[in-house]
Structures are given as C-alpha cells and as structure tokens.
Symmetry: C2
C-alpha cells in the first residue's frame, strides 16, 4: 500500500546539504564539481580515508542521485545538476552551519550581546565555503558579467578572499592585470596558489591588508579602471566616516573612466521572494555581528556623497542582495 | 531595476529553520505554535531575555512573515501555516543540527568508526526536537489515526519519549489507559508532567526502562490491546535475536485481539520522492550509528517469525518511513 506522492522539498534539500557538507569535510568536493568521472580509488585518495569508508559514502551518494553510475562499473559521474544542488545547499549551510555559534547561543546574545560576541565566533572556513556555494549562482554570475562588460585594463578586488572572481576575469582578459586585497593571510596564500594554477600569477598582485588601509595608502587601487567589492563593504560601512573615506580614496586613485561595482545586502527586504532569507541575514548581522546594513537609498547617498556620479542598482538572485554599478 | 522573480526555496527554508531554531533555543516555541496572539512582554518573559533582545527577534520574525501584526499594535500572531514551516524545518534541523557531530567529524568516522563513535555523540534534545518537528506531519498523523481506529482499551507506547502520542490518544479515549516506556529519565519526567497537564495522569503509567527489558519482564505491556513503537525498533533490531525476543514477549503478553503498530525507516528507498533523504538517513544510521535498518521484507519476516500473523505496510509522508500494522 502506497500513500504519499507529494515531493518533500525540505527533506531533499536537507539531505543533499548534509551529504555535500560531509563531502566537503572529507575534501572531496572537487571530485563532485567536475564534469568528468571518478573512481572509488579517487574518492578514497582525495578524502584520505580507507576504501571501506569511501565505499560507504559512494553508496550513499549513488542512492541519493548526487552521483550516477556510468557504463563502466569502476567509473562514477556527478549528477548533471550538481551546480544547482551546491547552490541550494549554500543557503542551508550558511544558515545552519556557518552561523551555528550564533543560533545555538542566541539566548546569551540576546541577554549580553557584547559579552557573547567576544565569546563566540564563526568559523571563517565555514562562512567562506557556504558563501561561495550561495554566491555561485546568487551573486557571482551577475558580478562577473558586469565586470567583463567593462573590459577593465586593471581590476582591483577588495575583500576578494581566495580570488576566484578576479582570477577568472584575468583568464578571460589576457592583457589585463589585477590586484586582490584581503585581510586574511590564509585567503591570500590560497589566492596566490590559485593564480599560479590558473597561469595568471604575473598579472595578479596579492595584497594582505584590510580595506580600511586604502585611506592611508591607496596605492593598491591606483590606476584601476574597475574596483569590485563583493559582500564586504558592510563591514566597513558600520563606521560611516571610515566608509566615506574609503570610497573617496578609491575614487581619487582610480581612473576617471572607471567603475566601482559593489554587491551587498540591504536590510529587511520586503519582497515575498526575499523577505524570509533577508530577515535571517539582517537579524544575524544586526543582533549578532553588530553590522549596520544600508538601504538602497543609503548606499546611493553614500556613493554620491563620496563624489561618485551615476549609481545603478540591480537585484541579485541572492535574496536581499543588490549590485551597485557606480561611475567615477 | 529589478532582476529575479524565481522563488528561492532553499533560501526560504534555511532562513525559517534558523529562525525557528533560535526561537527554540530561547524557549519561545510554544508562543509560536499556538493559535492565539502574544505580546512583546510574553516573548521577553518566555525567553528570559531583556525587552530589547526580544524586540530584535520580534522584528526579524515579523520581517520574515513567521509572525504577523494584528489590529492591536501590542499583539502579534504566528503565521497561519506555522505547522508547515515547523515540519519543513524539522528536516533541516535534523540533518544539519542534530547530526552535526557526525557531519563535522565525518573524516574521523570514515577512518576509525569505532573510535569516532565513542568520542562524538549527538545531543539528545536536538535529536528529539527535530524528530518531533519532522514527525508532526511526517509520521504522527498516520500513527495517531491508525491507533484511534483500533480504539484500544489499553495502549503501550514503547520508546515514547515525552509521550505526546499516548497522551493525545488517552485524551481522545476517556475510558482507556496507557503505559509509556522510555529509557530516558528526562523524557519520563517530561511525560509525567505533560500527562498531569493533560489531566490523564491517573490513566497513564510511566516506566523508565529500555525496550529490551520487556524480554525478562513483560509486565508493562501485559494486557495491552495496542502496542506502538515509533522509530525506536531499529535500535533493537541491530541484534536480531534480541529483536525476536522482544517481539515474542510483546505478542505473548498482549491481548489476542491486539495490534502492534511500528513506524520505522527502510534502508536506501529508491522512490524519487524518498531517495535523497533516505540516502542521508540510511548512511548516518549505518556508518555513524552502527544501526541496521531492515527492508520491508525483513520487517515482515521478523514479525511473522515471532508469531504475528497479518502484516500491512503503509508508506509514511516522512521519506523512507513505513508504518507496519501487525495482527497478533
């Protein structure tokens, strides 16, 4: 006797996210993201686990449909829509894994925000990984094509993390150069490694610094005709004076024909498509991270006050995300 | 300029689950589950947090649509479809919160299953809460109506946790009595409290014991005309001999007109509706908890081997879940 036919979307998404997180912890995500097949040996080798352990995981991945059999019994292929699965999993992983220290210590944060903020910290790797998964379809494609449309000779990427975006731009524009700025030493090391692997290391300068340092020394952005800042400016905008000073330094240092492209989140977006995730994103930033998110009007006003002229805003697929394309 | 209209289901589900988890950590879930309105004072009081902290959470809940304004500016109402939101959140919370120790220590589990299993344990409260949320629509309604259909004079609920099911059955059947068996002292204490609140305490016997103890002393199930075991038998069935002995004891002790109702999970269900969640559920049980899940055929054979006659199986809404209705 068979009962229910309804798709259980929440169960599907939860299961896929947990399986992809397990794969990520094992270090085998790259096998799942490529179009080519892999073997059980590849899986055991990449994960550094015994064949028995790898076989159990492979069985689960096959049963879930995330991995498929090929004609060859030794070869296994990631599902064709893995990119969608990873994108969706990003939201679950960000909300429930990266932000776990906030969620599970919520009572302390609500009773003593400052004390709790000193005590509990998110794991940078988990934030970076889940943000990358969400960004893969939520923000990256829009920023990437907006940048390519400008065909910059020199691009600066502020708070660029491991540099996937600027490296991919340099690969597309073989005569352009770039600079990557990030406060994390680990991210900068990873970016240097990735630039080498992509063969763009002689066209990419990696600078291990905070964005705020551009006020005293704008040399990294000097002569750039495109400056990009992806979901990092809200950390600077908490201090309106500092934010204004950073924007002014960028504007003064970059080419007069340049563009500034900023992606970021607005607070408490009301659109039905966005309101749920926007509510969580805003609440966690305001009440747990002490971050001030700016409205579209506040962003526009801040760019104008720093001397920028034309400001265009585009809704990102990432709920509550906006892309501002700003003219010097 | 507006871009995307697609619903971001994963983002919605992730945000709702995280907000409901925050509310659960604060102890304010009961305010959100009732049909009546609440005030900011109610929220602050139930959460034991200052008004400012409660106001921030309320703002987020209103922005997300989980809570709505009423005509009265002091009164707030949980959304009409809160039960659906909580049910969906159960899957995310179970997969990514309750099972977090497994997910984040997956490499250790795959390298040294026994060592890791000794070291890392799930939090019983998180397992119970997320299971209750999933079960609210995934298994509870089917079990509840199957039990009521039998109109038992005496019902035994094995591994009943805090006893919501048996207590609700006793409320519906005012001349019936029941017994609840659970290995957790905390769950038994909670069940006693809940039975008192529901006014059924003189008709419900609470027994703090493992299911396995029924082999040596079947007195708790003596004379029952209905025995229910919800998603607990897979812990017993790991040992086929013990499982058989438990089933035989139940059969011998209960009324010859009785019914046994067992809900449980089958391994690696292949139906497209179930396969993803079934893959995670099976994999976590097999590789991280050392649990042997039985196929529908194995369940049926086990009931028959212990002397039960007719066995009917129903698919639950909970993916990979089955309900067996078994005749003495």
């Amino acid at each position: 006797m068979s009962g229910n036919q309804t798709t259980e979307t929440a169960a599907d998404l939860a299961a896929v996210a947990a399986l992809l997180e397990i794969a990520e912890e094992l270090g085998v995500s790259s096998l799942l993201d490529r179009a080519g097949p892999f073997t059980l040996d590849d899986l055991a080798g990449a994960g550094g686990v015994p064949e028995e352990g790898a076989a159990g995981l492979l069985e689960a991945l096959l049963a879930s449909g995330l991995v498929e059999r090929t004609g060859d019994p030794q070869q296994f292929l990631p599902c064709a829509d893995m990119a969608d699965r990873r994108y969706e999993s990003g939201y679950l992983s960000w909300a429930l894994n990266a932000n776990r220290p906030f969620v599970e210590n919520a009572p302390e944060f609500l009773r003593d925000p400052d004390g709790a903020a000193e005590k509990y910290h998110r794991d940078g790797r988990r934030v970076a990984v889940s943000s990358r998964w969400m960004g893969s379809m939520g923000a990256y494609p829009a920023a990437f094509s907006a940048i390519l449309e400008c065909r910059p000779d020199r691009m600066a990427d502020l708070g660029a993390g491991a540099g996937a975006l600027v490296i991919n731009v340099l690969r597309k524009l073989p005569t352009s150069s770039g600079v990557l700025l990030d406060m994390s030493e680990a991210a900068c090391a990873e970016a240097t490694r990735a630039a080498g692997q992509a063969g763009v290391e002689d066209r990419l300068q990696v600078v291990n610094r905070r964005i705020e340092s551009l006020v005293d020394d704008p040399s990294p952005v000097e002569g750039a005709d495109l400056i990009h800042a992806g979901f990092v400016m809200h950390d600077v905008s908490a201090d309106p004076e500092m934010f204004d000073a950073v924007l002014r330094s960028c504007r003064a240092a970059m080419k007069p024909t340049g563009r500034l492209i900023v992606t970021d989140a607005i607070p408490y977006a009301t659109d039905p498509r966005e309101r749920k995730f926007s509510a969580l994103f805003t609440y966690l930033h305001v009440a747990f991270m002490g971050v001030r998110l700016l409205t579209k009007e506040q962003w526009t006003a801040a760019f104008r006050a720093a001397g920028f002229t034309d400001v265009t805003s585009v809704d990102l697929r990432f709920p509550t995300g906006r892309m501002f394309v700003v003219t010097v």
